[in-house]
C-alpha cells in the first residue's frame, strides 16, 4: 500500500460517481476571506505535517509487516496503532481547515484516513473518503482501498467490493510487489462476499452487556468461565490496577486479573485477584479449566515475547503463578490457552517459528510425570498463514472454538467452530453475524451447555472501551405448537385431535456436567477429596480432580459416549462411587450430586455403583475391575476391617430365584477379593434378593437402583 501521490483522474475509477469540483485553498476561490483563508492554510499545513508523519509511520509499519509476513494486514491489531499519535495531533487542525473549506479532495482524504485509523467503525471515515473520491482532485490512489475497507466496517458489502475493485484495477499485476497487494484486495473482496451472506442470515442470539458489576468505562476483556457458568475470570485495565502504573505505549493502566461469581443468576461485582496473582506489569487472563480451579495467565516480558503461567485454586487461595515449561513457552509470543476436560491436553496459541503462520494453534499432552510434552501444531485444517488466536476447547472434548484471520472470515479475526470427527478436525464454520463482524472478534468462550457465550466488544452502548458481553444462543427458530381436531368419524361425536410442531434439530453439546459438594456424612464438614474419573470400558483412570478444601465444591465434565465410573476418595473415609453410562447421543445435562463421605466405622455401608454382572448371571464383568481394586486397597489399608458384601435384585422374577441370584453374585465378589489375597475370614457374602429395595420397583429407574451391590463394615 505504498502511498503514491499521483494526479488521479477519478473518472478512471468509476463513471457512476457524480463528480464535484475540487476547491483548492487559493485566493481565487475565497476572494473575500483573505484572513480566514490564511488561518485555514496554516491549519492545513500543520495538520498535513502531522498527518504525513503519521502516514509515514503507518507505511513503515505496513511495509515491515508485509515484509515479515508476506501478506497484507487483515486485522486492526496488525497495524499496532501505527501513526495514531500523529493522526490524533493532525485531526483538530485538519478539522478547522475542513470547516473553512469542506471541498478539498486532499483534505478529505487525510481526514478519511485519520478517521479510518482512529475509529474505523464510525461512518466518518467513509464519509470523508467518499467525498475525496467525488472531488476531482490530487489524491493518492489508495483512497479507494481505504474507502473499501471503511465501507466493509459498516457492513456496506457491495459498495466495499465496488471500491476494492476500483483499487484492484489500479494495481498492475506486472509491477514489483503488487502480487501481495492484489492477493490482499481479492481476499478483502472475498470477506465482503462472506459478510454479505452471513448478515443476510443472522444467528438467533441475544447479546447482553454484563452490566456495571463487570464493566466500567475502562477496558474489560478476555473473560473465561467455568463450564457451569458459576465463576468468571477476566482482564481489566483500571485505574487502581496493581502497582498503579501506566503503560508507556498507550498510557493506559497495566492489565490485572479479576474474578466474579454468579449468585442467584447475577454476576457479583468483580474483585481483583490481588498481588499474589497480579503484578505491577501486564497480567492477563489466558484460560480457565472447566471446573474453574486452574487458571492460565499471560505475562509479558520483552525477552520471552509473552508467556503463559498457571495458578491453581486451593481453598480460597490462588497459588503463585508458575511459568509453564519450555514445551509451551518459547521465545515467541504465547497467548491463549485451553485445557481439555480431563486436564490431559493443553491447546494454546503460539507464533513460534516453523508454524504455518503468525499465531498457530498447538497442543501438548501431559506425560506420565505430569509435565507438558512437546508442542504439536494442530495442522492446516485449522491453522493458516494469516494467523489464529483465542483458542477454546469445549468441555465436550471435541468442539474447538478459535479466531482466525483466514478461513471464511468477514474481516479481521472471526470466531470459528470446528468439530473433531473421524480422527480429524472438520472445516471451520464461521459463527456468523452478529457474533462476527468485519472487525476483530476474538476470545470467545462458551458454557458447558452451549447456550451462552462470552466475549468482549467495543460496541456502542457499553460502559466504555471494551466490555464483556454475554451471548444467548436461541438455537433454530422454535415453531409454535398448534392444536387442531377433526370430526374424522361421521358417527362419532368426539373429534380427533392432532398437535403439530415442525421439528427442529438441536446442535447442542453432547455431554454431562456433574457438580456438587463433598462433605462429611456425620459432621457435614466440607471436604477436600480426590475425584477419580474412570473410563469403565478401559478400566482406566482418565482424570483426577479435587474438590475445593473450603467450599467442598467439585465439577467434572463428562463428554457423551463413555461409561464413566466416578470415585470420590479421602483418607479415613469409605470411598463413594457413581456410574454414568452416557451414550454417544446423550444430550447435554447438568447433574447436581452432593456427596456425603462416610467415616470408616462399624455399621457403615456404601453402594458399589461400578460393579457390573452379566445379565441374569453372577459373572462379574471386566469393567468392574477398577471399583473392586479400590475395595481391595481399602481392605489392605485397613487390615482389621471385616466386611459383608451384599447383593440385591429388583422384584422381577420369583423370590426364590432372586435370593439365589443375589447370593451367587455376592459370593462372586467375595471370591474375587479372596483371589486377590484378601483373607476369607474378613469377608461375608450375603444375598438379600428383593427384600431390601431402596426405590420403587414400578419403574425401570427404580428397579435399576434396587439392583445393586454394597458392602457393610462388620468390625474394625
Amino acid at each position: 500500500m505504498k502511498t503514491l501521490y499521483k494526479i488521479v483522474t477519478l473518472i478512471l475509477f468509476t463513471s457512476s460517481l457524480a463528480l464535484a469540483q475540487n476547491v483548492e485553498f487559493e485566493k481565487s476561490n475565497f476572494p473575500d476571506k483573505k484572513d480566514l483563508l490564511k488561518e485555514a492554510k496554516k491549519n492545513l499545513e500543520e495538520g498535513k505535517d502531522a498527518f504525513e508523519l503519521g502516514k509515514k509511520e503507518y507505511d513503515f509499519v505496513l511495509e515491515g509487516y508485509v515484509e515479515k509476513n508476506k501478506y497484507y494486514p487483515v486485522s486492526r491489531k496488525d497495524y499496532q496503532r501505527a501513526g495514531d499519535i500523529y493522526f490524533k495531533q493532525a485531526q483538530p487542525f485538519l478539522m478547522k481547515a475542513q470547516e473553512f473549506n469542506p471541498n478539498n479532495a486532499e483534505l478529505n482524504y487525510m481526514l478519511g484516513v485519520i478517521n479510518f485509523n482512529l475509529n474505523p467503525q464510525s461512518d466518518a471515515a467513509s464519509k470523508y473518503l467518499e467525498k475525496a473520491v467525488t472531488l476531482n482532485g490530487k489524491i493518492p490512489l489508495d483512497v479507494t482501498y481505504f474507502l473499501g475497507w471503511a465501507l466493509q466496517f459498516q457492513l456496506k458489502w457491495d459498495d466495499a467490493i465496488k471500491y476494492y475493485q476500483v483499487y484492484l484495477n489500479t494495481l498492475s499485476s506486472d509491477a514489483k510487489g503488487n502480487a501481495l497487494a492484489i492477493e490482499d484486495v481479492n481476499k478483502k473482496m472475498g470477506e465482503c462476499r462472506v459478510g454479505k451472506r452471513e448478515v443476510a442470515n443472522p444467528q438467533r442470539i441475544f447479546v447482553d452487556n454484563l452490566g456495571p458489576n463487570i464493566n466500567t468505562s475502562y477496558p474489560e476483556y478476555s473473560a473465561f468461565i467455568s463450564a457451569d457458568e458459576s465463576m468468571m475470570v477476566l482482564t481489566a485495565r483500571r485505574e487502581n490496577s496493581t502497582g498503579g502504573k501506566l503503560d508507556e505505549g498507550d498510557s493506559w493502566p497495566f492489565e490485572d486479573l479479576y474474578q466474579s461469581f454468579k449468585v442467584n443468576g447475577k454476576w457479583t461485582p468483580v474483585q481483583n485477584f490481588g498481588p499474589l496473582v497480579n503484578s505491577p506489569e501486564h497480567d492477563a487472563t489466558s484460560g480457565l479449566s472447566s471446573d474453574g480451579t486452574t487458571m492460565f495467565i499471560f505475562k509479558y516480558k520483552e525477552k520471552d515475547g509473552g508467556d503463559i503461567y498457571v495458578s491453581n485454586l486451593t481453598g480460597n487461595t490462588w497459588s503463585k503463578p508458575e511459568h509453564l515449561n519450555k514445551n509451551i513457552n518459547s521465545k515467541a509470543h504465547e497467548s491463549s490457552v485451553s485445557l481439555s476436560y480431563d486436564s490431559k491436553r493443553l491447546y494454546f496459541i503460539s507464533d513460534r517459528e516453523a508454524g504455518l503462520g503468525a499465531g498457530d494453534i498447538y497442543y501438548s499432552d501431559k506425560d506420565v510425570k505430569g509435565d507438558w510434552g512437546p508442542a504439536v501444531n494442530i495442522g492446516p485444517s485449522l491453522n493458516t498463514k494469516y494467523g489464529e488466536e483465542g483458542v477454546f476447547i469445549h468441555p465436550d472434548g471435541k468442539t474447538i472454538y478459535f479466531s482466525s484471520k483466514a478461513h471464511s472470515t468477514m474481516g479481521g479475526y472471526d470466531i470459528f467452530k470446528s468439530t473433531f470427527e473421524n480422527g480429524k478436525w472438520g472445516e471451520p464454520v464461521n459463527m456468523g453475524y452478529p457474533i462476527n463482524g468485519p472487525d476483530d472478534d476474538v476470545f470467545f468462550v462458551i458454557s458447558g451447555s452451549g447456550n451462552h457465550g462470552y466475549f468482549a466488544s467495543s460496541k456502542q452502548g457499553g460502559y466504555g472501551d471494551k466490555d464483556i458481553y454475554r451471548i444467548t444462543f436461541l438455537g433454530p427458530e422454535k415453531p409454535p405448537v398448534v392444536m387442531n381436531e377433526d370430526n374424522l368419524l361421521a358417527s362419532v361425536a368426539a373429534p380427533v385431535s392432532e398437535f403439530k410442531a415442525e421439528k427442529i434439530v438441536s446442535n447442542g453439546p453432547k455431554m454431562t456436567i456433574l457438580k456438587g459438594v463433598v462433605s462429611d456424612a456425620k459432621t457435614y464438614k466440607l471436604l477436600e477429596a480426590a475425584i477419580e474419573l474412570i473410563d469403565n470400558s478401559l478400566n482406566e483412570v482418565i482424570a483426577t480432580f479435587k474438590s475445593n478444601s473450603t467450599t467442598g465444591k467439585y465439577l467434572v465434565s463428562l463428554p457423551s459416549g463413555k461409561n464413566y465410573g466416578i470415585a470420590v476418595k479421602k483418607d479415613g473415609y469409605l470411598f463413594h462411587s457413581e456410574n454414568f453410562d452416557l451414550k454417544a447421543s446423550e444430550e447435554f445435562q447438568e447433574v447436581e450430586k452432593n456427596i456425603a463421605l462416610k467415616a470408616i466405622e462399624v455399621g457403615q455401608s456404601i453402594v458399589l455403583k461400578n460393579i457390573f454382572f452379566d445379565f441374569d448371571k453372577a459373572t462379574i464383568r471386566p469393567e468392574s475391575a477398577n471399583e473392586l481394586d479400590r475395595l481391595i486397597k481399602l481392605l489392605i489399608d485397613n487390615p482389621t476391617l471385616k466386611i459383608e458384601l451384599g447383593s440385591h435384585t429388583d422384584s422381577k422374577g420369583s423370590d426364590e430365584y432372586n435370593q439365589k441370584l443375589s447370593q451367587s453374585r455376592s459370593q462372586s465378589v467375595v471370591n474375587y477379593l479372596i483371589g486377590k489375597g484378601i483373607s476369607t475370614d474378613r469377608l461375608v457374602a450375603k444375598g438379600y434378593g428383593e427384600t431390601m429395595p431402596v426405590a420403587t420397583n414400578d419403574t425401570e429407574a427404580g428397579r435399576q437402583e434396587n439392583r445393586r451391590t454394597d458392602f457393610k463394615i462388620l468390625s474394625k
Binding site: F206, D208, D228, E229, G265, S447, S449, N451, T472, L474, G475, K478, P480, V481, V482, M483, N484, E485, D486, N487, L488, L489, A490, S491, V492, A493, A494, P495, V496, S497, F499, A501, I504, S506, G508, E587, F588, Q589, E590
Partner: protein, 349 residues
C-alpha cells in the same frame, strides 16, 4: 354429531317396517291389536318419542308374544332411550323367536358398542354379516371399531365392503377417507372426502376433514376454501373455525388467523385449542407478550395442556425470561410433549 348417529345407525328395524306393515295387514284378525300397537310404535319412533314407542311395542308383544319384529323395534327404541341392557334383552328375545334375524344381531352389536363391550359387538357384527354379507351397516360399524383401535388398514377393508353394498354410503366414504388419512394416504383421503361431499353436499364435517387434509399437504388456500364451505353449512362449527385459523396462520395471515380463533372462542369460550393457537399466532407475529397472555389463558383452562406450556416457553425465551421458559418446557415434557423434552435438554442448563 350425536344426531348423525341417530340418522345413520338408529331405527334398526324401521327399514323393514314398510313391507312388514303390509304383511301384518294380511295377518290373522286375532293379531289386529298387535298390528295396530306395532304401527303406532313405529310412528312414535319417527317422532323420537321413544318412551311412548316402547309402550306401544310392549302392547303389541302382549297381544302377540312371538312377535319378533316388535321385540326387535322395542330393542331399537330402548337403545335410543339409552337403556342398552334392556335393548340387548329385547334383541335376545327377537333372536329366540327368529334365530336368523340380522337386524336383531346388528342391534345387539350396536348396544354392546354403546356399553363399550367391543369384543361382543364385533362378535355380533360377524354373525350379522355371516347371515347377510350385504349388510353394509355392519361392515361400517366394524370399520369404525377398527379405526378406533388404530387398525386403519382393516378399517379401510371394512369400509370398502360397506361401500360395495351401498354405493351412496356417504358416511362410509367419509370414514374411509379418515382411515386413509390416518394411515398417511392423504391423496386417497381427499378423493374419498370429495366423494362423500358429492353424495351429500351438506356433510359439513367432510368439508372440514377435506380442509385438514389439504392443509396437511400444504394446500392452505384449498383448505381455507373447504373450511369456508363447512362453516357456511354450520356457522357455529368452531372446530372448522379453529382449523381455518391454522391454515391462515400457515399463510402468515396473522390477522385472519386471530379473527378465526377469536370466532371459535366466541362460540365455545373454553375452547383451549383456540386459546393455544392464539398464543401460536402471536408467537409468529413476534408479539410475545400477547402470546404469553393467551398461553396463560389456555393453561388456566387446562393445567395439563402441554402445547400451551411449550408455546409459553417459546414466548418467555424471546422475552429473555430463560428460567421461566425452561420451567414451562419442563412442564410440557412432564405432560408428554416431545418438543418440551427436546427444548429442555437442548436449551436449559
Amino acid at each position: 354429531m350425536r344426531k348423525i348417529v341417530l340418522v345413520g345407525l338408529g331405527f334398526l328395524c324401521l327399514n323393514m317396517s314398510a313391507q312388514d306393515t303390509v304383511k301384518i295387514k294380511t295377518a290373522l284378525t286375532s293379531d289386529q291389536e298387535a298390528e295396530n300397537a306395532y304401527n303406532a310404535g313405529l310412528e312414535l319412533m319417527t317422532k323420537k318419542d321413544y318412551n311412548m314407542a316402547i309402550e306401544q311395542f310392549t302392547k303389541a308383544i302382549s297381544f302377540k308374544p312371538n312377535f319378533d319384529k316388535a321385540f326387535c323395534n322395542r330393542g331399537a327404541a330402548r337403545y335410543e332411550a339409552k337403556s342398552y341392557d334392556a335393548s340387548i334383552d329385547d334383541y335376545n328375545k327377537a333372536l329366540a323367536i327368529n334365530p336368523i334375524n340380522t337386524d336383531a344381531f346388528f342391534g345387539k352389536a350396536q348396544s354392546f358398542y354403546a356399553i363399550n363391550k367391543k369384543d361382543s359387538c364385533v362378535a355380533y357384527l360377524s354373525k350379522t354379516t355371516f347371515i347377510d354379507d350385504t349388510y353394509s351397516k355392519a361392515f361400517y360399524l366394524n370399520g369404525q371399531i377398527n379405526f378406533e383401535a388404530g387398525d386403519y388398514k382393516y378399517a379401510i377393508s371394512e369400509y370398502d365392503k360397506a361401500i360395495a353394498n351401498k354405493k351412496d354410503y356417504a358416511y362410509a366414504y367419509n370414514d374411509r377417507a379418515s382411515a386413509k388419512k390416518q394411515s398417511g394416504d392423504e391423496a386417497g383421503a381427499i378423493i374419498d372426502y370429495e366423494k362423500a361431499i358429492s353424495i351429500d353436499p351438506k356433510l359439513f364435517f367432510a368439508y372440514n376433514n377435506l380442509g385438514s387434509c389439504k392443509r396437511n399437504k400444504g394446500d392452505n388456500a384449498g383448505a381455507i376454501e373447504a373450511y369456508n364451505k363447512a362453516i357456511s353449512i354450520k356457522p357455529d362449527y368452531y372446530i372448522a373455525l379453529n382449523n381455518r385459523g391454522t391454515a391462515k396462520l400457515n399463510l402468515n395471515d396473522f390477522a385472519g388467523a386471530i379473527a378465526d380463533f377469536d370466532a371459535a372462542l366466541k362460540i365455545k369460550p373454553n375452547y383451549v385449542l383456540a386459546m393455544n393457537n392464539m398464543a401460536s399466532a402471536y408467537i409468529k407475529k413476534k408479539d410475545y407478550k400477547s402470546a404469553t397472555e393467551w398461553a396463560n389463558k389456555a393453561i388456566q383452562a387446562d393445567a395439563k395442556l402441554a402445547a400451551a406450556y411449550v408455546n409459553r416457553g417459546i414466548a418467555k425465551q424471546m422475552l429473555k425470561d430463560e428460567e421461566g421458559a425452561c420451567s414451562d418446557w419442563k412442564k410440557a415434557s412432564e405432560y408428554g410433549s416431545a418438543e418440551g423434552k427436546r427444548y429442555t435438554s437442548g436449551f436449559c442448563d
